[in-house]
């Protein structure tokens, strides 16, 4: 396989890889490698495509995969939204956002509806995503079979042959032993009726949002160097038995103290007196659904751009 | 090794009405574990049994009577010769050379075999043993159980014994269970090897009546009895076997008288 690179003497690397942007943290050719891997991921929904994941200015396990996917997708005329556990202001989200904006020169946005690319850790925004938007989920462990069988060769064989019997046996054992499927976040799902995936540690509450979504969902695992995707309008079903309905996190009577919502994902804030104050995990959605006369917190209206 | 009789000749040997035609049957045993010596148990036997006929084999013990029966039932492999059988469908087969699977199927459907040498199946209730024979005949399970009940009553096995494992029964009871199994429905060919030897007089008479009754239903019977009285009562023909050959074949009374030298073990 001869290469013509020998003829490239006079062409500098810059022309090939684009001018190194002053704040570059991720070179152009690495972006192309991620893009090529993502093309396969979209064409084979749910298959974990191995890709040349590179170290980022955030530690492995802190979003290096999501960052590479976002940087490969985002353009200067895009708006990026970055959340962690549903919060734009989370310290981790803030750090990632400033790295992305710094590198891509794109706009930043907290309103889900106005963002072109949304990078998130452990949550899918409450606001339904629209055609043209892309959700990038940070993934700690891409392999749903890790807790089922130890050998990685056997895991690959099971995916290649669509042989997930052992996974179903685990669910059966779970129900038999605990009366309920005790698998909490990162609930295994079947994509396009073919591949079982780990949807990243989103709560069960968010899993239905992946089914038949208008937006493209990209799941990127930097440490384990795998990227996989759920194209729009693709069937995503949580693995459950027909007669054991898929239940989501719900606490009777819990409602957000700020916006009163009881059908968004709420988290309990323990009070000194032992009671629990419930608040929306998706802080941006919450701030936009407050009764106008909410006196408790003075809404400062315009959200920082 | 003689050229195997082609099935065609057997066709001729088994006209309508004839059930069994043994032609040139020889049986040798090669005992590799001793020194490879060969025992010639049967040295060329010809024999027929018509439908409804009861041919009794007589002769001293060790003459090859049981061997002959076992060759017919294919428990023993025939060394040479043919064992023609005309089945209830009219097909003619050679039990000596028929493939094993076909023999297994045919035995169940067409041949009854009652012998004291049969080992009772372990841990099998009496009713189950007899019902299995019915199922092998092609009966449904329910039908087979009913037939087994009838057969067992006919040989005087009390209902209390039905759930009992056959292995724990007395010799006589086991023999009667075997008879019940062998005659659960009139087989095409019935092979009897000392069917009444272990029975007390009362049961002996009822079994002999049973056997006699089968003949009237067109069953071809080939039997081995030491009990001359039984032979006289049942047999339509007697074949005397001596030294692996047929010594005499004819009317029971004549043959027995001519061979009064037959030692009869009471």
């Amino acid at each position: 396989m001869t290469t013509l690179s020998a003829e490239l003497t006079e062409r500098s690397v810059e022309q090939l890889a684009g001018d190194a942007a002053p704040r570059d943290i991720f070179d152009e050719l690495s972006k192309r490698a991620v893009r090529r891997a993502l093309l396969t991921a979209i064409a084979v929904p749910g298959y974990q495509v191995p890709f040349s994941s590179r170290e980022m200015p955030v530690a492995r396990g802190w979003g290096s995969g999501g960052l590479q996917a976002t940087l490969a997708l985002i353009g200067a005329d895009d708006n990026v939204k970055v959340i962690d556990q549903g919060e734009d202001a989370g310290v981790n989200a803030t750090n990632l956002r400033r790295l992305i904006v710094g590198n891509a020169g794109c706009g930043e946005e907290t309103e889900t509806g106005l963002a072109d690319v949304i990078q998130s850790r452990h949550r899918i925004p409450e606001e339904p995503l629209k055609d043209g938007q892309t959700l990038v989920l940070q993934v700690p462990v891409p392999e749903p079979l890790r807790g089922v069988v130890g050998s990685m060769d056997e895991q690959r064989r099971m995916h290649a042959e669509g042989d997930y019997a052992k996974m179903w046996v685990r669910l059966y054992e779970d129900i038999v032993r605990n009366g309920v499927v005790s698998h909490s976040a990162d609930y295994p799902c079947l994509v396009n009726g073919r591949y079982v995936i780990a949807p990243s540690p989103i709560p069960r509450f968010d899993v239905p949002k992946l089914n038949d979504s208008e937006a493209l969902v990209v799941l990127s695992a930097g440490r384990e160097k795998r990227i996989y995707a759920i194209p729009p309008h693709t069937r995503v079903e949580p693995l459950t038995f027909e007669d054991v309905p898929f239940t989501v996190e719900h606490t009777e009577g819990a409602a957000c103290v700020f916006c009163g919502s009881d059908d968004t994902y709420l988290i309990g804030v323990p009070e000194e007196d032992g009671t629990t104050r419930w608040v929306c995990s998706d802080t941006d959605w919450c701030s936009r659904h407050r009764p106008d006369d909410d006196t408790e917190t003075e809404t400062e209206g315009e959200v920082s751009r | 090794m003689r050229e195997m009789d082609s099935a065609l000749d057997l066709q001729k040997e088994l006209p309508e009405g004839r059930v069994l035609a043994v032609r040139g049957l020889t049986k040798d045993f090669t005992m590799h574990l001793v020194d490879g010596r060969v025992a010639h148990a049967l040295k060329g036997v010809d024999l027929e049994v018509e439908q409804g006929e009861h041919v009794a084999l007589a002769g001293p013990s060790g003459a090859g009577k049981s061997t002959l029966l076992r060759c017919v039932y294919r428990t023993y492999l025939t060394t040479s010769g043919a064992i023609g059988l005309r089945t209830s469908t009219g097909a003619v087969v050679d039990l000596a050379t028929m493939p094993d699977w076909d023999v297994a199927m045919l035995r169940g459907r067409e041949i009854g075999y009652v012998s004291q040498f049969l080992r009772a199946e372990p841990r099998r209730p009496v009713i189950e043993i007899v019902a299995r024979a019915g199922i092998a005949r092609g009966m449904e399970r329910g039908e087979a159980l009913d037939a087994a009940a009838v057969a067992l009553r006919r040989v005087g096995i009390d209902e209390a014994l039905w759930p009992v494992h056959a292995t724990v029964l007395s010799g006589g009871q086991k023999q009667r269970v075997n008879i019940a199994a062998g005659t659960i429905s009139p087989p095409r060919l019935l092979l009897l090897d000392e069917p009444v030897s272990a029975l007390d007089p009362v049961n002996r008479v009822s079994v002999l009546d049973l056997i006699a009754g089968l003949r009237e239903q067109g069953v071809a019977v080939l039997s081995v009895f030491h009990d001359l009285e039984a032979i006289e009562m049942l047999a339509t023909r007697v074949v005397v076997v001596e030294g692996g050959r047929v010594a005499a074949d004819g009317d029971p009374h004549e043959v027995l008288r001519a061979n009064h030298g037959l030692a009869v073990a009471r």
Binding site: M56, A89, P140, G147, S184, P270, T283, C286, E298, S304 | -
Partner: protein, 421 residues
């Protein structure tokens, strides 16, 4: 003179030592002062103290300098030095609830009681190589000082333990984005006020209130297992596990924790309820009055972590707790310790995991045994060759060589390995 020749050996060793000593002083840069080590390489100092299990920033910085930055060497030096110190008394049990927090974060709760105190951490600082030219350093420090404006006083400034004013953080208010301000609540990016008693309520108490925890308290309060006096063996109580973890080498702990993540039995991972870095008072009983007197303060990192019990033989309705505490600011070590404390508890204290935690994670032991391979082994090797030749003789059918008259190895006098002069 042979590697093993009595007289010659001494000369070789002395020559090697000279090389080391002269090497350390070579180079044009000025000698590294102890303060520079403690101030600029403070995390190296913290780590060595942890792994040598001796709290003495001063001695530890000496060890780091002497070891020229080699972590294992520094740990070895400090451990050996520790052996020269007599053990005069035992401190009173330390109540970790008294920890005066410099930094305290919880992964399990968004707003833990007493709020998240981010404090000084690299977690959210861009991990990019700083290529600022040396000459710009002065201006950079000046700007840093200016941006701080008022600077907090911070009490524990006595210099011997290596803390200078650089330890505090300027006020870093959460961005004025109203949507997040009230919801993030009391996110305090500010370092704990050094003098007021920064002592937020424990997340553990909250978990106990929710009655979700496996009850591991047995009511008794046994003397802790002293691994320096009684070597730890599988089956040893939890206190032995905790102290071995505290002395373990950080890299070994991290890798062993990571390895467990790939075993189906422990594939999931725990969630830290609390990660704290701060000061702990150390008290001993006054020899005369008999009541406890604070004699020192020790800076530690401790972690309390929670795991969703998901094995067939475990109570699925409960959560189990793991704990880890180590000297200095070494969060990755404390988190790994807590995780492994949990793993040992769940697998049983004579399980394979327990054995590995108790036996294989000590840096001084592991490295010592590894590097011992450099010791002469020619006696054993000669014997190995002998057996090989015997077997080969059998395989090739040549006359079996009697053990005694085995042909000696080629060139049978020990090889001359002179010190590299």
């Amino acid at each position: 003179m042979g590697y093993s020749n009595a007289k010659g050996g001494e000369e070789a060793i002395l020559a090697a030592e000279q090389l080391v000593r002269r090497g350390r002083e070579a180079g044009s840069s000025p000698r590294l002062t102890l303060d520079q080590v403690t101030e600029r390489l403070r995390l190296a100092v913290d780590r060595v103290m942890g792994e040598a299990s001796l709290w003495s920033p001063g001695l530890a910085s000496r060890a780091v300098r002497q070891a020229e930055g080699d972590q294992f060497e520094a740990m070895q030096l400090l451990r050996a030095h520790r052996s020269t110190l007599p053990r005069l008394a035992y401190s009173e049990p330390v109540e970790v609830a008294e920890l005066r927090v410099l930094r305290r974060v919880s992964s399990a709760f968004r707003n833990p009681p007493g709020s998240q105190i981010l404090g000084r951490t690299l977690d959210y600082v861009g991990r990019l190589l700083d290529l600022m030219p040396e000459q710009d350093h002065e201006r950079y420090v000046a700007e840093l000082e200016a941006s701080v404006g008022h600077s907090h006083g911070h009490g524990h400034g006595h210099s011997h333990d290596g803390h200078t004013h650089g330890d505090h953080e300027h006020e870093h208010r959460v961005p004025e984005n109203s949507a997040t301000r009230d919801l993030v609540g009391e996110l305090q990016a500010v370092a704990a006020e050094s003098d007021d008693d920064r002592n937020p309520p424990r997340v553990m108490d909250l978990m106990r209130a929710m009655d979700l925890l496996v009850e591991r308290r047995t009511g008794e309060d046994p003397e802790p297992y002293d691994v320096t006096r009684q070597p730890a063996r599988p089956g040893a109580p939890r206190s032995a596990v905790l102290s071995m973890l505290a002395r373990a080498e950080t890299g070994a702990l991290v890798h062993f924790w990571y390895k467990l993540r790939f075993d189906p039995r422990s594939a999931g991972h725990e969630i830290p309820g609390e990660v704290r870095h701060g000061w702990l008072p150390l008290r001993v009983n006054h020899p005369l009055t008999g009541n406890p007197v604070q004699v020192a303060e020790v800076r530690v990192t401790d972690v309390e972590t929670y795991d969703d019990l998901d094995r067939p033989d475990e109570d699925r309705s409960r959560i189990d707790v793991g704990y880890g505490l180590c000297f200095g600011h070494n969060e990755r070590k404390a988190i790994a310790m807590a995780g492994l404390d949990l793993a040992v508890h769940r697998d049983g204290n004579s399980s394979e995991v327990a054995q590995q935690v108790l036996i294989t994670l000590d840096g001084v032991e592991a490295n010592g045994f590894l590097e011992h391979l450099k010791l002469p082994h020619h006696v054993d090797f000669r014997s190995v060759i002998d057996r090989k030749q015997a077997i080969r003789a059998l395989q090739t059918g040549t006359k079996p060589v009697a053990a005694t008259d085995a042909t000696p190895t080629p060139g049978n006098e020990t090889q001359q390995i002179g010190a590299l002069v």
